[in-house]
Symmetry: C2
Subunit: 309 residues, 2 copies
């Protein structure tokens, strides 16, 4: 199997930033009520931006930043729960916008952590030698599927897109994944067509802490890797309490858990590539660093990936 | 890479069969008008059956027929354009219904030929040694997204589900795929949320004949295989005219193109596994036979797979 590396990331965030004050007024909350419970101070909500538009903008930025020729992209995988079309999918819209002559496109709908499935699939295509370069995009317009009066969801969720470019790598790089689903408990986080997102907060907290930390521990044990060797854990940005609890359960320093939920809220499939981009911008990731990326959410679906930068 | 084989297939068709007479009366057509143009005499339209229900029923039948333990399934991939939920996906509903303790689930939405992507992904996971057994399900409830007054779509489309079980194989088996997308032409076959399926028949005919036969020719050339060595071509059941034209363009005998559109119509992602099941039932497939499976449709998305039974 060939080694695979992340070449780069880029994002698109809607222009419209919604601060906690909006909800403080609406629900008559104390100033710090939301922040204390969620770690969130603001989130972005799309006005006119569609999921396809945001995905295309993030991809264009990525290719510009990395001076990467779009024609070299062999496959595009998009993970989203909020595509506005049954067909064509968002991945096809990206191919169209960039006018890529030859590639294959897949839209994945596997809850909030489909990005992890997409990453694992694209990496496997590259590792097997079938392709050389692949794009994984996570994008959501969750604000369109919110009951704004439901404090359990409306204060948490944000919109955005993040794109990750993966490529074949001559240097040897670690990559391992531990992805699993729990359809049996899928009822605690749902969204039917034409309905709003429904979350059972307490049960999700339990899932997001116990199951997710067990999944990471399994991955680390299988690969015989300890907390000291890990530079960062980059979790889905669901809620600051869940992320802190994961750190506690793993016995890892809180500074090693990358958190950017404060400004952006929970953006489901977009949250991990947005975090990766921001870490790249903050110069936190260096060649050879071992990091663990962790996704979890609706389905239920969860998975962790150990990879070397 | 490990070899992979198809262990078996099973299907679910809705109880409600809609004969051409229904449309003959509605559109005041001559008795053979629809059949001559499409090759279709009937199709099944779901009444109460949801996509999840049909997918679960097809999967249960498959496991019963093959006496296969559900707990051995490592992954479930479902391809559909007509899932009624944004989350959880249909694959998660299957995991839940079968109470599979450990597996991962992915829903793919890549137009009418997402089944081909699903097959390719599951095969790659097995071939890489990451998993041993995987399920690929194609399912559609197209009747819910039809304008019954649109003769271009309503007479063609049907509902149904087909499930395919893939597994690691000790014997060496050929497997090659040629999957590509043409997002640039995605406008000729679309469906937005809460809208009906839209098709530009003439352009789809051109795509389904020229591009699809070119794709198959490429696959055969790359693998140095000729018409004589192919036992069957199993195309997406879109329209009899497209299938006949593919045979002509390949210069292959018409009897080698498997056709079952007459009774079932065009069922998008379900059409190939339904065809595979029927061929199994008719005892047409034998160990060592080389067949080509071909999907094409919305996205645009298309792909052919050469595999050994």
């Amino acid at each position: 199997m060939n080694s695979v590396k992340i070449i780069g990331n880029a994002i698109y965030l809607p222009e419209n930033k919604v601060e906690n004050d909006f909800f403080n007024n609406k629900f008559n909350l104390e100033e710090n009520w939301i922040y204390k419970r969620t770690g969130i101070k603001s989130r972005y909500w799309a006005k006119d931006e569609s999921a396809s538009y945001m995905a295309i903008e993030a991809t264009k930025k990525l290719l510009e930043d990395k001076k990467f020729d779009a024609q070299k992209i062999d496959c595009i995988v998009v993970a989203s729960t909020t595509n506005e079309k049954m067909m064509p999918g968002i991945s096809f819209e990206i191919q169209k916008a960039l006018n890529i002559k030859k590639c294959f496109c897949i839209d994945i709908s596997s809850g909030c952590s489909g990005y992890i499935n997409g990453l694992d699939i694209v990496r496997l295509y590259i590792a097997s030698g079938k392709i050389q370069y692949g794009l994984v995009v996570g994008v959501e317009v969750l604000s369109k599927y919110l009951d704004i009066n439901d404090i359990n969801t409306s204060i948490l969720l944000g919109d955005g897109a993040g794109a990750t470019l993966l490529g074949k790598c001559e240097e040897s790089k670690i990559y391992c994944s531990n992805i699993e689903s729990i359809g049996q408990e899928g009822d605690i986080l749902t969204c039917s067509t034409n309905e709003n997102i429904y979350m059972e907060g307490k049960k999700i907290y339990k899932f997001g802490t116990i199951k997710v930390s067990e999944n990471i521990k399994e991955l680390m044990k299988e690969n015989n890797i300890n907390n000291e060797e890990i530079k960062y854990i980059i979790p889905h940005q669901s809620n600051i309490r869940i992320m802190k609890s994961i750190a506690n359960r793993l016995g890892i320093e809180k500074q090693k858990i990358y958190v950017n939920i404060e400004e952006k809220g929970n953006t489901f499939n977009a949250s991990i590539p947005i975090a990766l981009y921001q870490m790249e911008e903050e110069n936190l990731l260096h060649n050879g660093d071992k990091v663990i990326i962790v996704g979890y959410g609706g389905g239920l679906n969860l998975g962790s990936v150990l990879l070397e930068i």
